[in-house]
């Protein structure tokens, strides 16, 4: 039960922080490079036992809500779907011996800090790269896409680690 409530809370926290905090914080002309897509935290930290179809559906649901608020069509939803599809493969890659109990809460304390950061980075990079590629849809501007992916991924990672740190207190 607690785990359900936790995830529902994260769902709304992600929407709130993304739409009403991050979208407004202003860094002048550096803003496009300090624009973390924090909402990805919900899909990343969903319990490992979540069935794949449900995972994909939740990704679509959250993405489409953000898209509605930002008038971006299906841009955010598309990037979250890609992450949701690849998430089980990333986990299999990071835990080949399947030593993670899928029913336990998923945080840095349980699976180890280094593995947690690697997992987060991979997920965030995939989602961010997909997002900025589709947003530009022009591979002549690949250097901007890559640059934006890297800087924004870094800030997203930072925010999620802060969340992880605070939630374990």
């Amino acid at each position: 039960m607690v785990i359900y409530l936790q995830n529902i809370f994260r769902f709304f926290l992600a929407l709130f922080v993304q739409l009403l905090v991050i979208n407004w914080v202003d860094f002048g002309s550096a803003s496009p490079y300090i624009y973390p897509l924090f909402y990805v935290i919900f899909i990343i930290l969903l319990p490992l036992s979540t069935p794949r179809p449900l995972l994909i559906f939740l990704a679509f649901l959250q993405g489409i809500i953000i898209d509605a608020f930002m008038s971006t069509g299906g841009l955010h939803a598309s990037s979250l779907l890609t992450l949701a599809l690849l998430r089980p493969s990333i986990l299999r890659f990071l835990a080949p011996r399947e030593d993670i109990d899928i029913n336990r809460p998923f945080n840095s304390k349980y699976i180890g800090f280094r593995r947690f950061v690697t997992y987060l980075s991979l997920c965030i990079l995939i989602q961010h790269f997909w997002f900025f590629s589709v947003e530009f849809f022009k591979f002549s501007e690949l250097h901007i896409i890559i640059w934006k992916t890297l800087t924004n991924s870094f800030f997203t990672l930072l925010l999620i680690l802060i969340y992880d740190f605070v939630s374990q207190k």
Partner: protein, 278 residues
């Protein structure tokens, strides 16, 4: 048959993924098409209401500054209205307007949400069909043009600002009245834009003002857009390209006016006829 079902069951997540991904891409394409209204966007009633509530709370912070801006605009408009007449000393001249009907009407509204960090930025306006708003109506702020409306619901509408990848209108170099094309290109940020196709035979200086040309029926001619900060010789042998600094500060925009052009439909119909005949 059973085998096909088995395979489908094994890869059901892939089928679901593709299904949703196709929906997403069709929504993206629909959103980027200016002549088509999209389904999920900020003109939605729920989304608009949320933004309106948040804006209500936020507007108190900027009240003083916004007041000053509007006052300044009033002063400028008064100057352009009365200043000229007294300068020419023709106070008693009767202006005969050949058009008895109104050409443009201004509706005042408020921008309740701004996003300036992406490639395809959108604003949300607190006016909708109820207030007489239609798609493709120009919007001007206290200092210059802002954009035009796209999706319109009963109470809200979304606005495509200058700082959107697909925004393009014809503009004029104010001193010589030569036409150029305003675009928002890859290296522009939230307060710059690019004017292309400025002919080489006119002299363009840094600091010159760019105004609207009024060709597309969205804006009236002579509205401020920005001033030139850099001139490049990028457009081949015949044309110059100029970087401009926009007068509108998209991060602080709040009170705006929507331009209703009573002859827009007629103009566009006529122009479409010509294109079809060719």
């Amino acid at each position: 048959m059973r085998n096909i079902l088995k395979i489908l069951q094994k890869y059901q997540h892939l089928v679901i993924f593709l299904f949703f991904q196709i929906i997403c891409f069709s929504l993206i394409l629909r959103q980027n098409d200016f002549h088509n209204s999209s389904i999920f966007n900020a003109s939605n009633h729920v989304v608009g209401s949320v933004y309106e509530q948040v804006d209500n709370a936020k507007s108190y912070i900027n009240l003083k500054e916004e007041n000053r801006r509007l006052n300044e605009e009033n002063a400028r408009l008064k100057t352009s209205l009365y200043g000229k007449d007294s300068a020419n000393n023709n106070k008693f001249l009767i202006h005969k307007d050949t058009l008895s009907r109104l050409h443009y009407k201004y509706i005042s509204g408020k921008i309740i949400n701004v996003f300036t960090k992406g490639e395809n930025n959108y604003l949300t306006l607190n006016l909708g069909k109820k207030h007489g708003i239609e798609p493709h109506m120009g919007i001007i702020g206290p200092y210059g043009i802002v954009g035009f409306t796209k999706d319109v619901s009963k109470n809200f509408s979304t606005v495509i600002p200058i700082i959107h990848r697909k925004f393009t209108i014809s503009v004029a170099h104010k001193k010589t009245n030569t036409t150029g094309l305003l675009q928002w290109q890859g290296n522009d940020n939230f307060n710059t834009a690019t004017v292309i196709n400025l002919p080489k035979y006119i002299t363009i200086k840094v600091g010159d003002t760019i105004t609207t040309k009024g060709f597309d029926g969205i804006f009236n001619a002579g509205e401020n857009v920005g001033y030139i900060t850099e001139v490049f010789a990028e457009g081949g042998d015949d044309y110059n390209t100029a970087k401009i600094f926009l007068f509108t500060d998209f991060r602080r925009i709040s009170n705006v006016k929507v331009i209703k052009n009573f002859y827009q439909k007629e103009q566009l119909e006529l122009e479409n006829n010509i294109e079809e005949n060719q």
